[in-house]
């Protein structure tokens, strides 16, 4: 008895990837075990913990609650795809480092993807909105205190960067650079 295989095309972190998987292959497993992208973690496989959260066409979703076949053609962003093009940390990643927003690091990728999308939608969250933004992800290490700080810090870093870019663009010296 051999199981029917399906060809699935995914755009992962900007790169088109093709895999051949049975229909039952969870998207989380496809990313980890077929594509070797082990940054996406599996903490419960029933959609509660959020460790496997990735961006599907820009929106945070649980990779463990999707079948790889059902993601055909989707654009996926995993934690490996969050860094800046030059390889430096994104504002959210940087904020986590500055605020000690992680300990064991296992839940962290799910938080990073969720917050990245959350701040795109709401770049200036209030304190309560910052808490709400991470409200669907479990962390057993940090007590969330520094994760919430990191959301606020990431928003500040993004705003500072945007202001700096705007200032640079306005000045002729900046333009010359």
């Amino acid at each position: 008895m051999s199981e029917e295989q399906h060809d699935v095309r995914l755009v992962v972190n900007g790169v088109t990837r093709e895999i051949r998987v049975p229909a039952r292959r969870l998207l989380s497993d496809a990313l980890r075990h077929d594509l070797g992208l082990t940054g996406t973690h599996v903490g419960c496989e029933h959609g509660v913990c959020g460790a496997c959260t990735i961006l599907v066409d820009g929106r945070p979703m649980r990779a463990c609650l999707m079948l790889a076949v059902s993601a055909e053609g989707a654009e996926l962003t995993t934690v490996e795809g969050l860094t800046e093009p030059d390889g430096s940390l994104s504002p959210v990643q940087q904020a986590f480092a500055e605020c000690h927003g992680l300990q064991c690091g296992f839940c962290t990728p799910g938080f990073l993807t969720t917050i990245t999308a959350g701040l795109r939608e709401n770049p200036h969250p209030t304190h309560d909105e910052a808490r709400e933004m991470v409200g669907g992800n479990l962390c057993r290490c940090t007590g969330y205190q520094n994760i919430v700080k990191a959301v606020e810090r990431a928003a500040a870093i993004t705003a500072e960067t945007a202001a700096a870019v705007a200032e640079t663009a306005e000045t002729p010296e900046g333009a010359a650079r």
């Binding site: 199981e3 029917e4 399906h6 049975p22 229909a23 039952r24 969870l26 497993d29 496989e45 029933h46 959609g47 959020g50 959260t53 599907v56 929106r59 945070p60 979703m61 649980r62 463990c64 609650l65 999707m66 079948l67 076949v69 059902s70 055909e72 969720t114 409200g135 669907g136 992800n137």
Partner: protein, 291 residues
């Protein structure tokens, strides 16, 4: 926790999907999968065939008309929650949707899927029931409209046949002079509610002309109770208490690991009062819900 094997088809048209379902009695439909996939992973569901609706055209639309909101089978909770149009015509949708799981689940889960999953502890079946909405079901042999009152027949059991696809749900618009409210108590934010209440109240000249509430997690099926008589025309501490007691006559709060039956009954009382009060205020507030 990995699914058992199943066959998988992703039809490009609805008739194709319906044919697949007609031919395979052991098939299940996949839309958002936020309830189905965990059941597959725990091997509590092991269908022979999964029919994935995600490539079907037109099912992702929210049609807002003066008489109500029609929500296609592929509309994600998040899209409906974000629809200002839908909120204007029926504000209860957004009030309740904000309580459906967490945002990440709402990004994938569909409102119609949640309704036909027929979980008596879910928000949207109760809302559909309260509003007297309906679901449109299509099969190879035709189309039919199932009123909410006939949809929920038992715990996790709907009257949708295995060969049917629920292609849309229809939520009637907020009637004139009417206000709505929603609240629930859950152990953790985002959990299934220990008890939840949706209510609508029609107010004419300051008096309550009609009031009803839909309950979740306190009966085997989403249950709507007419509370007009219990309120006796007014919203007072005494009438709200009477409404709570009246509601309990139609409900069957059960004990589980999270709450005793008596505690759930207490939540029925507390939430009935809170939500009726809010709905009354909504009906009587200037510039509140559209009349």
């Amino acid at each position: 926790m990995k699914p058992a094997p199943f066959a998988y088809r992703r039809p490009a048209t609805l008739p194709e999907a319906l044919e697949l379902l007609a031919a395979e009695p052991d098939a299940k439909v996949l839309a958002g999968g936020q309830s189905l996939v965990p059941l597959l992973s725990m091997r509590l569901a092991a269908p022979g065939l999964l029919v994935d609706l995600n490539s079907l055209p037109d099912l992702g639309e929210i049609n807002v008309a003066p008489d109500g909101v029609r929500v296609g089978a592929l509309v994600r909770h998040a899209d409906l929650l974000a629809s200002a149009e839908a909120r204007r015509v029926q504000p209860l949708l957004a009030m309740a949707l904000a309580h459906v799981a967490h945002a990440t689940i709402r990004n994938r889960g569909t409102t119609v899927g949640s309704i036909v999953h027929a979980d008596a502890s879910a928000e949207m079946p109760a809302v559909l029931s309260l509003l007297g909405g309906s679901v449109t079901a299509e099969s190879a042999s035709g189309s039919r409209t199932i009123p909410a009152g006939e949809l929920f027949v038992g715990p996790l059991e709907s009257s949708l046949r295995p060969d049917e696809v629920a292609t849309s749900a229809f939520f009637p618009a907020l009637p004139p002079d009417t206000g709505v409210g929603f609240d629930e108590v859950a152990r953790r934010h985002g959990d299934y509610a220990l008890c939840g209440v949706a209510a609508q109240v029609r107010v004419v000249d300051g008096a309550v002309a009609a009031a009803s509430a839909g309950y979740l997690s306190v009966a085997d099926v989403p249950t709507v109770v007419d509370l007009t008589e219990a309120l006796g025309g007014a919203v007072t501490d005494a009438s709200l208490a009477a409404a709570g007691e009246a509601a309990l006559e139609h409900l069957d709060p059960a004990a589980d690991i999270h709450a005793t039956a008596a505690y759930r009954a207490q939540l029925v009382r507390v939430l009935t009062a809170r939500v009726l009060r809010a709905a009354y205020a909504d009906a009587t507030t200037e510039g509140g819900s559209e009349a």
